[in-house]
Structure formats: C-alpha cells, structure tokens
C-alpha cells in the first residue's frame, strides 16, 4: 500500500495548512471585513454593518498617530538596548564559555519558565518604591529624590528590553557559534588587530543573527501592550493598548480592526526596508 510519491508532501503540508487556514486566514478575512464596518443606525452597542467605510482607517490613524509613533519609538529603543546587551552575552557564550556553554544557554531561556505577565509584574516591583533600584539610584544621586521609575517610558522600554532579550540572544548566539574561529585567526594573521578583526570579520559574519534577532524583538515589541499596561501610564500608551481598549472596553470593533491592519502594514513595510538594507540573502 504505497502512496504515489508526489502526494506525500501535500499530505505532510495538510495539517499545518488546515490549521493556519482556520485560525489565521479566516480570522484575518473576518478582521478585514470588520475594519470597514460602521455602527447600525439605532442599533445597540457593538452592532455593526458592512458599509465599506475605508475612512475608518484614516480616522483611526489620525486619532492615534501619537500611539503609533510611540510604539515604533519604544520598539526601536528596546531592540537597540536588547542588541547592546545580547551581543556581548551571545559572544561570550559562543566563544568564551567553555564547558559552561550549555548552562548559560539554559539560563538565557530560563525566564520562559515563568509567565510573561508575572515577569512584567515583577519588574513593577523591581522599579517601584519598595525595590532596590530606586533607593539605590537616589542615594547615588543619579536620579532626584522625588523621581520615580514606574509609570514612565523608561519602565516600559526596560520591561520590553528584558522580556524580548532571549529572542535577541538566541539567534545572535546561533550565528556567532557558526563562525569558524580560524577565520578570526586568519584576520589576526593578516595584520588585523583585535578590534579590526571584530569589526571586519566577526560582525559581518554575525549579521544574519543580528537581523533575525532584531526582527524577532522589534515585531512583537511594536505590537506589545502588556509592558505599557503594567509598567506605563496613560502617557506611555502604545498602539497595542489602544487596540485592546477599543476591542474589549469600548467595543469599537471596526476601529480596532483598522488599527490592527495599519500596524501590520507598517511593520511589514519597515521590516522589508530593513531586510533590503541589511542585504542578507541568507535570511530569506
């Protein structure tokens, strides 16, 4: 009872495709339909009809420009901080950790054993009045005696940096680990000092990891609302928070849907430009 060979790949694809179709494609179509609806005249809250109101998009964007801007600013900052922290970490694990390599890798993913939400709430404690950070910084006169850290942009960006750090570290580690150490030796042999060898050989060869890591950090960070909700204030609202409140609090489905699509499109455009610029054929 042998299947014709050509059918096997389709059979293997089927479960995944069926799943994606049911739980991704269909909801997306549904979301697209919702995004151009308007309230039924005289209807109850939450009752909408399809009127192909593309003006929803314009209105939703104009009302939330600030939150869009903030989302991309915070996501960019968190990505840059995560890169700055993760690169040395991944470098050390890949090249300098010796027998501790596996332990360190486990430690990198260890935070995943706790819920995302719990970890973010823990950051609220860490940065709060009762934590050690604020009193410590105050006694060192780095921040003013009245300054707080919770409910600030700083707290939101710090939370995001922390939460997405493993997504930055692991791809960086993977691409650094793949580098043949002899190419770095060869750079030294060819008159490059340590810094030049790093700049000319290690960094370019780790670029696929940098691109993968920044995307894996930036994309979820741009749509994130948990960090802003828990660690921020009304002044640090990101677009994710707006979408969340439109859906669940104001029951304004069309605006929420339009915002979701706008966010998706914005991320897609940015990511495409970024990949073009980074020029990594290996990524695609």
């Amino acid at each position: 009872m042998s299947l014709p060979k050509v059918r096997v790949p389709y059979l293997l694809l089927f479960p995944g495709f069926a799943f994606l179709f049911t739980f991704f494609i269909l909801p997306i179509i549904n979301l697209a339909q919702t995004s151009t609806q308007t309230p039924i005249a005289g209807g109850d809250t939450g009752q909408y009809e399809q009127t192909l109101a593309f003006s929803n998009y314009v209105q939703a964007f104009l009302d939330n420009k600030e939150q869009f801007g903030r989302s991309f600013l915070y996501a960019t900052l968190a990505t840059l901080f995560a890169l700055a922290i993760a690169y040395p970490l991944a470098y050390a694990i890949a090249f300098k950790s010796g027998k501790f390599k596996n332990i360190l890798l486990v430690l990198v993913v260890a935070p995943f054993f706790t819920s995302f939400l719990l970890r973010t709430i823990a950051w609220k404690q860490i940065l709060g009045e009762e934590g050690f950070v604020v009193p410590g910084l105050r006694s060192l006169h780095i921040i003013g005696q009245q300054t707080t850290l919770t409910s600030t942009s700083f707290a939101v960006v710090a939370g995001m940096t922390y939460n997405f750090l493993p997504f930055m570290t692991l791809p960086l580690y993977a691409s650094l680990e793949r580098i043949d150490p002899r190419t770095i030796e060869a750079a030294g042999d060819l008159y490059a000092n340590g810094i030049t060898a790093f700049r000319r050989v290690t960094v370019p060869l780790s670029l696929p990891g940098v691109v993968a890591g920044t995307l894996l950090t930036f994309i979820p960070a741009a749509g994130d609302y948990v960090n802003a909700a828990i660690l921020g204030s009304p002044n640090t609202k990101m677009i994710g928070n707006v979408i969340e409140s439109r859906y669940f609090k104001i029951v304004d489905y069309p605006t929420a849907a339009a915002l979701s699509f706008t966010l998706m499109a914005a991320i897609l455009i940015l990511v495409t430009l970024y990949i073009r610029k980074a020029g990594t054929e290996e990524l695609v």
Partner: protein, 394 residues
C-alpha cells in the same frame, strides 16, 4: 578604493617586528597544556628563503610549533627569533608572517578580491588593486575576483588562500596541511605548483604535513617530528637514504630492519652478523652505539635471485617467496627469511624477466652502501602504526 588606515594601526604595524627579515630561530621551545607536552625543548633554525617541512604524525607537535611561529599560541618556555628580532610574544598581526590555514579559512562574506586585499588594506598599502591582480595572475585565477569563496572548488580555494598570504610578501609563509583537503591528483599538481611559486616569489615557506611524499616532493629540508621532538632533520634524500632512527626509517617510506651484531671492521666498513650471515656496510652510515644494531635496507634496494644464480654485494640466503603483488611499475614481494622474519622487496619491472612465483627458493642481495645501521635498542615498530591518511590535528 583605498581605505586609509587609522593612525594607531599604522604605528602598530610599522614596528620593528613587522620589518624583521632573516632566518627563523626557535630556541628551546616547550609548549605544555597541563600535563601534556605538545612540543618538548625544540631548537630549530630555518634559513631564509628555504622550503622547510615539518613532517610527523597527528599529535607530534608540528601544528603547535607552527601556531607558535604564527603567534596564535605562546610557548611555555623558549624564544622565537626572526632575524635578530625576538617575536616570542608579539601578537600575530605584528608579525611579518602569514599562514595558509588547513581549511583555508577564507572570509566567507568577502569576495575573492577583498579576501586577498585584506592584509594589504590593514597595512594601508596604496596599490591594492595592482597587487591583488598580480597575485591572482600568479595563481591563475584572475577571473574569479568577484566571486565569493563558497562558489569556488577546493583547489581554487586553496590557491586563493595561498594568494591571500603571499600577496603580503611575508618574511615567512606558514602552510598548515595546505593540501590535506584535496584529492590525490590535485594534490600532486599543487605540490609542483607550490614549489614553483616558492621559487618564483623567493619567500621562506614552512610547511606542516603528515604526508611524507608531499614533504619530500616540495621541501629542501625536512624535520621529522615525533612526540614533540625532532627525530631527524635533513634533505629528503638524507632522511630517506640514511635515517637515524627506526621512527624515521618507517615513517618515511618503508624499511626492512634486521637484528644484527657488529663483529668487527674492515677498513671503512663494518662487518655485521645477521643471524649467522655476514654482511658489510659503511661505518659512516651506522648510528649504533654499541655492537648491537639493526641493519636497515629499503625494499627497493634488495635484489632477488633464485638459489644457484650469482649474486653481487651483500647477500642473505635461505629466503622463500611468500607473496607476490604486481603493481605495474614494480612488483612487491614478501620474502620469508630463515630466522622467521618477513622482508619486503620491490623489484622494478624493467628487465623483461618474468616475476618470481610464490614458493620460489631465493637469495636476496644488495649494495653494501645502501645499508643503514640503527641502534640495537630501537623499537622497530616505531612510526609504522601511524596512519598517514589521518587528517585532522587540533
């Protein structure tokens, strides 16, 4: 495009060490890793302009020696001089030494042109394009300048690795098993080419290999290494014709080593008793320290003759052909001797005489001058158990 080099770098590379030229001198070098001694009290001078080979089996310390010369490892004890300059502790990028790495270690993200230009750019050389083009022509691959290393075959990568090193005109070029990854035919061709390029550019080449044929083809001088020490150093012919130790006798080609006793002398010759049969050999070729000796004879130096036919030179009687392998240019025989030892004999197929048959009763003979004498306390298996095809050495 010529990039200017930051002032700091320029100063570093224009230090004395970078312009050092002359013989390479290793003085009493030892390198230990914990309890393991990779290189043991090694002293060696490599004359400027020579093609020098460090030959030995895996783990003999040859690669460690090379890495110390390159600056990738620091000796535990001892000093390294290039000309009059002490380079023992200078960083690799401060040494006028370039390496062709075992697996080439080309930069995968750079084009072939930029790979070769790498060293020139670091030193702030002006006419990069001209020099790269010149060396690409030397290795006969000018059409590959814009390719990436992964688009090249193994043999092409090997030449680019060589070009990337020699374009810098180093005082010393180190080759770490440079042909190990190539197939046999390509290896033979590259051996001849490397030798030609070395003459062409006139640089000192230090070549590390486990392949005795490769070392003999290319090098002017070979140092045979074993367990961190140099067993013997000399020209390929010296080492082959007159090995001083059983390790060298067995590692370079094959040897028949027959236990014997020095009975006396006869002018410039020694009279040696091999299981009751007397032979003679030049005194100058004996490395024995007392009257016990292993007489060494290379398999192709032996002649076989049927019992009853006349013989010249030294001869041993009572042999019987045990095995015959015809391999084209020669026929290889295993001959059982009366004392139980089996000796190898290679006969050229050039005399029109049909080969001997298994079971033939024969005598073997050879010219006395081809005999070499080893100390009687040698381990005659030394150097035979290593697998010369063994490649990776860390």
């Amino acid at each position: 495009m010529v990039r200017s080099v930051p002032a700091g770098t320029r100063q570093l590379v224009s230090k004395d060490s970078i312009s050092a030229r002359g013989d390479l001198k290793l003085t009493r070098i030892t390198k230990s890793y914990g309890d393991f001694t990779a290189v043991d009290d090694l002293t060696l001078t490599i004359p400027k302009g020579s093609f020098f080979a460090l030959l030995g089996p895996s783990g003999c310390g040859k690669t460690t020696t090379l890495r110390m010369v390159a600056g990738l490892e620091e000796p535990t004890v001892g000093s390294i001089h290039l000309g009059d300059t002490d380079i023992t502790t200078t960083r690799p990028y401060q040494r006028p030494i370039n390496t062709v790495f075992q697996n080439y270690a080309l930069f995968p993200h750079l084009t072939i042109f930029e790979n070769i230009a790498f060293g020139l750019r670091r030193r702030g050389i002006k006419d990069v394009k001209e020099q790269v083009d010149k060396v690409l022509n030397l290795v006969e691959l000018p059409h590959l300048a814009e390719r990436k290393p992964t688009q090249l075959s193994g043999g092409q990568q090997q030449r680019i690795a060589l070009a990337r090193a020699i374009v810098n005109r180093p005082a010393l070029l180190l080759l770490d098993e440079p042909l190990g990854a190539l197939d046999l035919k390509l290896r033979r061709q590259m051996q001849i080419e490397l030798k030609w390029i070395q003459r062409e550019v006139g640089l000192t080449f230090v070549h590390v290999t486990h392949d005795q044929e490769e070392a003999m083809t290319m090098a002017d001088t070979i140092a045979v290494m074993n367990e961190g020490k140099i067993e013997q150093m000399g020209t390929p012919a010296d080492l082959y014709d007159n090995p001083k130790t059983a390790f060298v006798a067995n590692f370079l080609g094959q040897s028949n080593l027959i236990k014997g006793k020095i009975e006396g002398s006869d002018g410039d010759n020694l009279v040696v008793d091999l299981f009751g049969q007397k032979i003679s050999m030049p005194k100058s070729r004996s490395h024995a320290v007392d009257n016990s000796m292993y007489a060494g004879i290379r398999p192709e130096k032996f002649r076989i003759s049927l019992v009853g036919t006349p013989v010249r030179g030294n001869s041993l009687t009572g042999g019987r052909i045990e095995d015959v392998s015809y391999i084209g240019v020669s026929t290889q025989y295993v001959v059982a001797m009366p004392w139980g030892q089996e000796v190898m004999v290679f006969e050229q197929n050039d005399d029109g005489v049909p080969p001997f048959d298994k079971g033939d009763e024969v005598n073997i003979s050879w010219e006395p001058n081809f005999t070499f004498g080893l100390r009687g306390d040698e381990d005659i298996e030394a150097g035979t158990e290593v697998n010369p095809e063994e490649l990776e050495e860390e």
